[in-house]
Amino acid sequence: MNAIRFLPSDGLPALLSCLVKTGRRILAPVEKPAVKSSVVFEPWSEGKPLTLQKATVPAKEAVLPQCETLLSYRQTKNADTAALNLDDTPNAQPTVVFGARPCDACGYAVLDRPFLQGPFVDPYYRARREQLVVFTTTCGSGCATCFCHWLGGGPSSPEGSDVLMTEIEGGLVLQSVTDKGAELLNSMPPAAKLADGAPVFRQAEEARKKAWASLLPAPDIKSARQAIAGIFSDANFWQEQTDRCLSCGACTYFCPTCYCFNITDEGDGYEGGQGGRRLRSWDNCMSSQFTREASGHNPRTDKALRMRNRVSHKYSFYPENWGAASCSGCGRCVCNCPVYLDIRAIVLAAIKHAGDK
């Protein structure tokens, strides 16, 4: 099944409100005005302005929220009985991510492997993922920090998306790339303002080609996995690469492919002191607490060792387990880092360093 549609420039609100009418939550990029403005995904509702710019924060939230309640409990006590009510229903609702970029969408594919394809399926993640439809805006060009094409992606790569949207003169061409996407497009009523896209599809293809052509040639990083694994114990290398790192969480929390989390039980004061909840919230390997053990011992105290973990996880351990990198090349860890630490430079340095040895 395949659906190609054309949406005129002024048709976005019409399409979105038809999508809302299917009972789905629409997460769309919204520009937040500030001296330094940012673009974040927020639930869209009728009349709310949206933008199709690449967001500052990817919509990872749709499958892995910053914080979610895994379970909550409540105690009820009578004179002679005590009962404990437990609720572990995943917090999930049918959702459309509207206006992701190919690198963000690739993030879903990266998260799917450990959460869905490993020996244990994460029921919370699955509940959200199964109800997710991803509409992705293909990129018009690359930029100074992104490098999807180094990793097999590209400005119109379909990985992780259900519908690709390409801007052409006068509107958007929407192309389904999965059955889920096609079904949803086909189910749209006339009010969605979608016209047949076949006559203009060529223009979309041209725009995509142009975007590809605008990218700088990608270096060959096929040997990255071996190279990084090979210098695992080269402390000096990691130290030099990490000098300026401040050990914050910007690189991981703005990353569409990072998925580490922490679990915290919070009891006090919840449900009037009669209950509690177990929360899962984002965690990051760049923080020293990430590996601090209950005894107080920390096997990974140095920021260089933490950086080694982040880079190795993305370019060596994860590829070893799943056959692809857990980095989509979105560049957010570079441009959001307070010291612009560049993961590309580390990967290239590792390859060079391994070659020199």
Partner: protein, 482 residues
Amino acid sequence: MPVLEGKELRIVGFLCNWCSYGGADAAGVGRAVQPTDLRIIRVPCSGRVDPIFIVKALLNGADGVLVSGCHPRDCHYSAGNFYARRRLEVLKQFLPVLGIDEARFEYTWVGASEAQLWQHVVTTFTNRVHALGKAPRFDAVEPLLKIADMALTALRPLGTGKNAALPKLKEAIKAKLPELECVIGWQQGYDEARTVPLFARTPQDVDKFVWGPFNVNNPAVYLPTFRGKKVGIVVKGCDARSVVELLQENLISREDVILFAMPCEGTLDMARIGEKLGRYTTVDAVVCDEASITITADGKEHRFCMADFAQGKCYGCATPLAALSDVSFGAPVDVKPVSATPPELALLDSLSLPERMSFWRGQMGKCLRCYACRNACPMCVCRDYCVSDSRDPHWMSQLADEREKLFFQTVHAFHLAGRCTGCGECQRACPVGIPILALRQQIGRVIEQLFESYKAGTDPAAAPPLLTYMPQEKNIHERGWK
């Protein structure tokens, strides 16, 4: 009493064990009639009351908070309430920037035998809170986004530092390098319009040094990590203030650091530059003349005058050349400091209390808790043991709500009270552009007013104001209880 009428408000009281708790007890024993809204938490000393306890209570639904300790000069631990007085006064004047009415918070002194005074205090305070009514709930206000006006006038002409003595600096660094672990400064980042910190260990590294308006990072943030080793650091005037503050607090030793100073002509506000260049673009070229920078991005040329695009702090900067240094190029520029409200704070000043709360709700909605703000702060020394990450005690909920996020910002702002030099790194580091500097600026302003124009990081011998006290404070006056 009010309980029965359902009109009781939630007032939290922190009472010291030795005086006020005794006073309250005496009032109870004497059957003095008192309102019942107050919930008392007994603490060893008013000095034990961290201002963040009070902020936590107020953000989490308390309608009022009362702290009561022994009278000054009567502290069971000699000086606990002297410290408390300074902190609590700063807190009181800080609360309005969050949109919280300062009248909802009070601190006072009641002795163990002063049952009548206690009755009077608790009645008066409760009545005051009742007159204000239920406190607005942070999670119930509508978000409001407003932008600070950055159009400012500099105290002196700003420039690009094009003719700075960079070659001489490099020479000087190379000469000192053998005795140093490394020298910290700046080098070009991923494009010509971004610099990143450089740690020069070899003469070849030293050649990578750059100087100019892109040198925004504050290299002082790294100094404590080199404790015990001798390092060099190149500083702008404002960076040197952070170094001085680190010295004031004994976080580094003077013998361990060599400061290389260059006269700074201003640095660029990369937030505003980024807005013009556009998100996710490619910089093709950067050309610089004496007063402006021209950046070509995605084929489009943008000219930035230093006078229009400098960082907020540069406009009021009176120490462009480090006041403390070992090797210095250039003479101090004679600039007369004037006191002006920084732009982020001016925006908050222009809002009403409810608007301020809405403002922070809107801003904190973007926060991802990445703590780049915390870790970029050169004065934040306990970052690996931060209360925000601690589970024991469990100070902050992991819930991703705006209130918890704002709570963290007040924790950071408070831990920086009297220590923050206003370097602006916290705000610069924030990837989503939350103007968190305003919170630090408000505390800075209060500190200046209370402690005779005290400015952090200007005198290596001065004690930070919240780490000391005067038995008789000049500008903190006892409030009457009428």
